[in-house]
């Protein structure tokens, strides 16, 4: 946004920060990059019992151009890694990444020739969720933590 660069008044900028962050954190559009079992757990999270749309992240978009939250769910292999990087690059800013489950965070229990040991070798990650698979409350907790993180962002930092 170029608006805040023209405003020198810090009071106005902090108010803009609050409003913009309020809008962003309560209407995140997730892109489910599900490769393995964690994706099925995510299907449970968006179901009616553990409803993630209570927190605003209801509208899953399967195109990276239309999403702002990349949820990497499942094992990422060395063959899949450049594809993940390409999807991340195609997302417009602001964007956040949640690494869900053990495989995405650290390679899981696949310490071998074909698995990327943590997607933070490829893309920057905001929130890691532990578990194999994480319980649905864990996933919702990750979205909640991400919302707290977003509320402390400065709008000017995304330029």
């Amino acid at each position: 946004m170029g608006l805040e660069s023209q405003l020198d008044n810090p009071f106005l900028t902090t108010t803009i920060d609050t409003v913009v962050n309020w809008g962003r954190k309560y209407s995140m559009w997730p892109l489910p990059f599900g490769t393995a079992c964690c994706a099925v757990e995510f299907m449970g999270v968006v179901g009616p019992k553990y409803d993630i749309s209570r927190f605003g992240a209801e509208l899953v978009r399967f195109s990276p151009r239309q999403a702002d939250l990349l949820l990497v769910m499942g094992t990422v292999t060395q063959k899949m890694a450049p594809i993940l990087k390409q999807i991340y690059d195609q997302m417009p800013q602001p964007k956040w990444v949640v690494s869900m489950g053990a495989c995405a965070s650290s390679g899981g229990f696949y310490d071998n020739y074909s698995v990327v040991q943590g997607i933070d070798e490829i893309i920057p990650v905001d929130i890691y969720v532990a578990g194999c698979p994480p319980t649905p409350e864990n996933v919702i907790g990750a979205v909640y933590k991400l919302q707290q993180k977003i509320s402390q962002e400065k709008v000017a930092a995304w330029r």
């Binding site: 060395q78 063959k79 450049p82 390409q86 071998n112 020739y113 990327v116």
Partner: protein, 181 residues
Amino acid sequence: MDQSQITDRLKARFGERILSTYAMCGQEAVTILPADLVEVLTFLRDEPELRFNMLMDVGGVDYLGFGGDGEDEDEVRSHRFEIAYQMFSYDLRHRYRVKVAVKDESVEVPSLWEIWRGANWMEREVFDMFGIRFTGHPNLRRILNHDDFVGHPLRKDYPITKRQKLSRPIDHLLTDKQEWA
């Protein structure tokens, strides 16, 4: 048909070309040389009482450093690799396994692609993981690992934690003419 009867039929037909047999818990297998593979499997397919018309799986085994612990099944083998062909009969509902003894990676095994189309990708997987080449295969290249991978990871002398990153961008895959044979 009982699997032991199938073993008897194979031994009656091929005699000395069966190198060894294996029997455990009702499952039986014979071991043959790669040169006899096509003949044995077409016999299994064409014989009216056997009718093995489905090739279920092709898998490789590396016996490097195997055996010597003193147990019966752990005999040390003179060949390094084995390829196991799992056969199934839709009509008669019986199964059988045929194992091919491959001495080392320089031996080439005939491809079964022309008889069973499913062997195409299964043999590519054996090539990717063990390095065994198949003659007559239309598209013998890596299938599970990325194209820059060096080595064959399911061999026993590949360090299991050695990682090989693919750092090239993949846009060329959209424009390359892919042979989907």
